[in-house]
């Protein structure tokens, strides 16, 4: 009897362990296979993306209708997933499924290169040089979307990833103006703190918000080439220049210029605190505008770019990302896919996306649109930036994770810059070669 009971318990232990294994095993295996339909008769193309809000999702519904009207016999299936799901497991699962998308949302740079290496990015050079896309994008818009001189992505929207937003009323009440240097920024924070106001709020639970600021500080201190080389693993992460850049973060933490809850707060709650007037400034990207319009339409907000810091980087640089759509190289409908992207890039579609709060990367993103002044201003800031800095997680996900972790440890007051970056470097050295 006792042996039976022991066996049952052991079986339970094994079952629990095996179930945990199954979690990983069920992530799927096998290579992607082309869609089953052929181009000769009626067929459907699948377009996959992460959700960027109901309004934008609605634009795709309109585009689907327009495409199906323009190309009888073709139908479009829009696959929209929750954004985090899409970017982590969703797209991978879709691409390796039997019914893989023909067109999918992706980011340029490393992520696109990975898709290219894995055989999921079609060469659409001829199409984007053809009449469907004629005059719709500047050549600069294709930055990071070309590999070996060929184009593998169609630009969609751009975002400034980090600026410091401020509450105009709080600034006016305290006689403050936008700082241009880091010292002025610290003096401004000091004045706000003395007035009993939390100078800066951020929610760094997911590590990228402060990681973005750290990316920008690193570029300003080291220069873009060195910064990118560092994130790619070609330079040590714990160099003196990087430590100096992280010292700026430490100053914010040491002087309580940033909310104490920064390490535990999600970014959306930090946004809410800022919009409720509980802090004077918020460090986040251009997408704040849509949150402000929907949550606090009467709140007057402005922004300033990262103030200048001592260093060899471009002190007028802008931290930003662009996004785009890729045609799946394993699709049987590559041409139909590029047709859809041409429709997405047309002036009518660009207008719809701009009205939905996006900054399209077309040559005329706000033509005929009454867009929010901050959105237009940020779009100009990004397009005229002498140096566009890419956030670390768009360069190398694994090394960026360590970099962002180091920034989180410093801003959370848990480690000194040297300790945090030494630990990150040690972890980076243990990573396998890509």
């Amino acid at each position: 009897m006792r042996r039976v009971r022991s066996f049952n318990r052991l079986t339970g232990v094994v079952a629990v362990a095996v179930a945990s294994l199954a979690l990983t095993a069920c992530t799927g295996s096998g290579s992607g296979t082309p869609s089953g339909s052929t181009s000769s008769g009626p067929f459907a193309i699948r377009v996959a993306m992460g959700s960027t809000g109901e309004v934008v999702d609605g634009v795709f519904t309109k585009l689907k209708a327009a495409y199906e009207a323009k190309y009888p016999g073709r139908t479009v299936e829009i696959v929209i997933q929750e954004n985090d799901t899409y970017e982590t497991i969703g797209l991978n699962t879709l691409l390796t499924s039997r019914n893989a998308p023909d067109v999918y949302f992706e980011r340029p740079g490393t992520r696109l290169s990975t898709r290219f290496d894995d055989g999921y990015a079609a060469d659409i050079t001829d199409a984007v040089n053809g009449p469907g896309f004629a005059g719709r994008f500047d050549s600069a818009a294709y930055s990071g979307m070309q590999i070996g001189g060929k184009t593998y992505m169609v630009p969609w929207s751009g975002d400034v990833t980090n600026v410091f937003w401020y509450n105009k009323a709080i600034f006016a009440d305290n006689g403050l103006t936008s700082p241009t240097t880091w010292d002025e920024f610290l003096a401004l924070c000091s004045k706000l703190k003395a007035a009993g106001i939390t100078p800066l709020v951020d929610g760094n639970k997911d590590k990228w918000p402060v990681g973005s600021i750290a990316s920008h500080l690193a570029e300003r201190a080291l220069g873009n080439d060195t910064y990118v080389a560092t994130i790619k693993g070609d330079q040590p992460m714990n160099s003196a220049g990087m430590v100096a850049a992280f010292d700026d973060l430490k100053t914010l933490a040491d002087n309580d210029y940033i909310n104490k809850s920064v390490a535990a707060l999600p970014d959306d709650q930090a946004t809410t605190q800022f919009l409720l007037g509980k802090a004077a400034m918020l460090g986040i990207g251009s997408w704040l505008v849509s949150d402000q319009i929907s949550q606090a339409p009467k709140l007057q907000i402005g922004y300033f770019n990262l103030p200048t810091v001592p260093g060899s980087g471009d002190q007028n640089s802008v931290l930003g990302v662009s996004t785009g759509f890729v045609v799946n190289a394993k699709s049987e409908h590559v041409s139909a896919g590029t047709d859809f992207l041409a429709l997405m890039s047309a002036p009518e579609a660009s207008k719809l996306f701009a009205e939905a709060g996006l900054t399209p990367m077309t040559v005329d993103p706000f033509a005929g649109v009454t867009a929010d002044p901050n959105t237009v201003s940020l779009a100009n800031l990004l397009s005229s930036a002498p140096t566009k800095v890419t956030p670390a997680d768009n360069i190398d996900v694994k090394r960026a994770d360590e970099f962002y972790g180091a920034a989180a440890a410093v801003i959370g007051g848990l480690k000194s810059p040297q300790e945090a970056l030494d630990a990150a470097q040690k972890r980076v050295e243990a990573l396998p070669e890509s």
Partner: protein, 293 residues
Amino acid sequence: MKPSSRWTPYLLVGPAVLFFAFVVGLPLLGTIAMSFTRWSGTNRMRFIGIENFNRAIHDTVYQRAYLNTLVYIAATLVLEVAVGFALAGLVSIQGKRTLWYRITFFIPVMLPMVVIAVLWSFIYSDDGGLINSFLTGIGRSDLRRVWLGDPGTALLAISVVSGWIYAGFYMAIFYAGLQRVPKALLEAARLDGASEWDLFFRIKAPLVRGMTEVSVLLCITGAFQSFDLFFVMTKGGPDHTTEIITTYLVSTVFIDHEVGYGAALSVIMTVVVVGLGLIYAKFRREGDVGLEY
């Protein structure tokens, strides 16, 4: 009764064996196979021998995840099992008149874990959270903390939530056991002058030892399975102080897209959990009298 054909037993267990092989056996073998590869989930798998295991042994965050899991187990053994046992002892004294108490204690077990995690995140919130507001209200602002952002309190804070949820679950288990203690035995002890305290610790507790063992095992294996609370409340932060094996696994596989390495981490975890189970089974006290179920 003797089966009519010697194949009958095999036919009867066949479907279950096939089902088990499909949902457990194949994924298990697949995971073991993947653990020897480098694979992102979309690229071509590459056999790399034991490189993933070698890397895991030297992975400081993975080591930290085990340490955190052990601390979490220690905390939940007290906050879940011991508290559940104490609650069962209290409600068993009054028997049926404690129905609503038992329901109340059990309700958290039935709530969705993610909902609980979000609710407690607000309770622990630095800004307007229930705990910090209470501390301010009683004039002890000096005790205010960023409970989920402070390395000294984050893991304990999650353990408390875990205790809040599962103490009721273990209470139900222990209560069922305590109800089976023979009344005559308790009456005889009372006639001999035993107090309620004596009845609980000298009679009831020894008789439900088997349930205690099961509860401890469930608590330990459950800790290795934990994920939701940690992922929603802290995502392993700050600075990996609440990183547990499952959160690190998910991060490795789904964010870093290192499926092969993640498979190796899960294989190691499986070996550890099975090893702990075997050790637990070996060191169980044997020969004591317990209730028959």
